[in-house]
């Protein structure tokens, strides 16, 4: 029996699952937007702007979800400042939750700046202060590319550190494999691309952009499937945890509906919206299964060999 079965469940449930899902989408979408910002053409601009908007909204929503989830939400700032030694910085580079709090904060700032730059590019900013900030990082400028590039790199970090955070515990499944962070990175990239496809279809994305995102999503799903296989293989005897409802969710919801079905749709060149919706469903179910499968382990019964 793995020693992880003797630890206690941290009660990370719906708010955290939603955060992992939203953060993954925001991070993945921001990364792809930054790549298209740097290397794409004029026809990619709508998708770039959508990506930065998704990142900004996702970062703000992520912060709200994490704050609500705290036992003492008004102490959210204790994550970044020392409450007993205000205003000294609170930072632990070896603690993913501390590192992640800072990363989310900086990611949020850069994502909001990039989104404002995109809005300035479209001439949608009316407020003088916002127009001044947005104008400084106006989409397409060199500074905007730099800000977007930083946001994109931080986005990939946000998508993946949540998996590392789970691994740096002593809980069953999470701490029994080093592949969870890599899996969340791949899922963040695939769900980010799916979100861009769905929003792009409604907001004037070009055919070329959508086709390229669809092609990238196909590759990201293949990577996700490979990493998921490595993750399962690395769990060894702990895999008995999947002999439960959550194993069914992982197999049917994530592997079949979330990866294989959209892969098939992508390859058949069927409407990309259907594939994108399935990818988003799979990304959510992946987080759901990973969290609840571990949360549900009853440590006392297992410890007693029952």
């Amino acid at each position: 029996m793995s020693d992880t079965f003797f630890s206690g469940a941290p009660h990370w449930t719906w708010f955290i699952i939603l955060y992992f899902f939203v953060g993954g989408i925001a991070g993945g979408a921001c990364f792809l937007a930054a790549v298209l910002d740097w290397f794409g053409g004029p026809e990619d601009r709508p998708v770039v702007r959508i990506g930065y908007n998704v990142a900004a909204v996702g970062a703000i929503l992520s912060g709200a979800l994490l704050t609500i989830d705290l036992g003492r939400p008004l102490r959210f700032w204790h994550m970044v400042l020392q409450s007993a030694n205000f205003p000294a910085i609170m930072f632990k580079g070896w603690s993913p939750i501390s590192f992640g709090a800072w990363a989310l904060l900086v990611f949020g700032v850069f994502a909001v700046l990039s989104a404002l730059g995109g809005m300035a590019e479209e001439g949608r900013l009316q407020n003088p202060a916002l127009r001044a900030v947005g104008g400084a990082v106006r989409g397409g400028s060199g500074l905007a590319k730099f800000v977007g590039g930083v946001a994109g790199l931080l986005g990939m970090f946000i998508a993946g550190y949540t998996g590392v955070l789970l691994s740096v515990t002593n809980r069953p499944i999470w701490a029994d494999s080093p592949w969870l962070g890599a899996l969340f990175v791949a899922s963040g990239a695939s769900t980010g691309a799916a979100a861009l496809i769905l929003l792009g279809l409604r907001r004037g994305a070009s055919e070329q952009s959508l086709a390229r995102l669809s092609a990238f999503d196909t590759k990201a799903l293949v990577v996700e499937l490979l990493v998921l296989a490595l993750f399962i293989a690395s769990l060894g005897s702990v895999n008995r945890v999947w002999l439960s409802f959550w194993g069914l969710v992982l197999l049917v919801g994530v592997v079949w509906f979330g990866i294989l079905a959209p892969l098939r749709l992508h390859m058949q060149r069927r409407p990309v919206a259907g594939a994108a919706r399935l990818v988003l469903l799979g990304g959510f179910l992946l987080r759901l299964a990973m969290i609840f499968a571990s949360e549900g382990v009853d440590r006392y019964r297992v410890a007693a060999g029952m």
Binding site: G71, S83, G160, A175, A303
Partner: protein
């Protein structure tokens, strides 16, 4: 710094009276569960069942019965291990968890914001949220009592000296003598967490056990959560790198197509 202090729990003399649980609850003013209406476990005489945010001491009953006249009771008063290398302290993002001058590990309730990272990091399942304070809580080894020269409430109340309090050096000597004595009597006894070169650098609350560690709900080889950090981060970077290259290659292909297309038209 004061000398390292801790507990040595000799499980062979525990009678399961739960005086330590009561003394702990009383001294630390821990709330009752379920409004004071106790739900019976239904499968054990132990109805506390676990350590958590409002149970900082728990007398575990291990009922080993093959038949009505063939069996034994094992009892162990469980508590925070005050690890020399503490996983909870390692991950705490607010700095709420500190190591005191007595080499014990304490959660400052006025600093903790209830993120619960420490709960998942503890290899022993010791910490949980106190629903009254909304913060993570566990045994403080009666830090307030130690500060004024008193021994912790649980060991003070223990009627059989199953829970012994003292300096770690003295307790280790005492524990080894007791283990040797039991072994000489043919009892298969061993110490858990007394070895400073063992897992987590040793535990400042260690035990004498007469069955496998797992039987008492203790991990055989507890580890720090950070053992996974480098590997997990490395694989994540690898995954991000592969996806980054795939994204860039996709775009480069488009450019090459464009270059090819414009070349063809010339």
């Amino acid at each position: 710094m004061a000398e390292a202090m801790g507990f040595f729990t000799d499980t062979t003399v525990c009678i399961g009276c739960k005086a330590c649980e009561v003394a702990c609850k009383e001294w630390n003013q821990l709330p009752a569960e379920n409004g004071g209406i106790r739900e019976l476990s239904g499968d054990s005489y132990d109805n506390t069942r676990r350590l958590d945010g409002i149970h900082w001491r728990h007398v575990r009953f291990i009922e080993q019965f093959k038949g009505p006249y063939d069996g034994r009771w094992l009892m162990m008063s469980d508590v925070c291990k005050h690890c020399v290398q503490a996983g909870c302290l390692e991950v705490c993002p607010t700095g709420a968890i500190i190591r005191t001058e007595f080499d014990t590990v304490v959660i400052q309730s006025d600093v903790c914001n209830g993120c619960r990272a420490c709960i998942a990091a503890c290899p022993f399942g010791v910490i949980d949220i106190n629903p009254v304070s909304g913060t993570a809580q566990k045994c403080t080894l009666c830090y307030d009592r130690l500060k004024v020269g008193l021994e912790p409430a649980c060991s003070k109340a223990c009627p059989t000296d199953s829970i012994q309090f003292g300096t770690i050096a003295e307790l280790r000597t005492r524990a080894q003598k007791r283990a040797d004595q039991l072994k000489a009597q043919g009892v298969d006894a061993h110490l858990y967490g007394a070895d400073p070169t063992g897992p987590l650098g040793g535990l400042n609350s260690f035990y004498l056990l007469v069955d496998k560690d797992e039987v008492y709900g203790l991990p055989h080889k507890p580890q720090l959560p950070s053992r996974n950090l480098a590997k997990s981060a490395g694989f994540s970077v690898l995954s991000a790198g592969v996806l980054g290259v795939l994204a860039l290659v996709g775009l480069r292909k488009r450019r090459m197509d464009q270059v090819g297309g414009s070349g063809g038209s010339n």
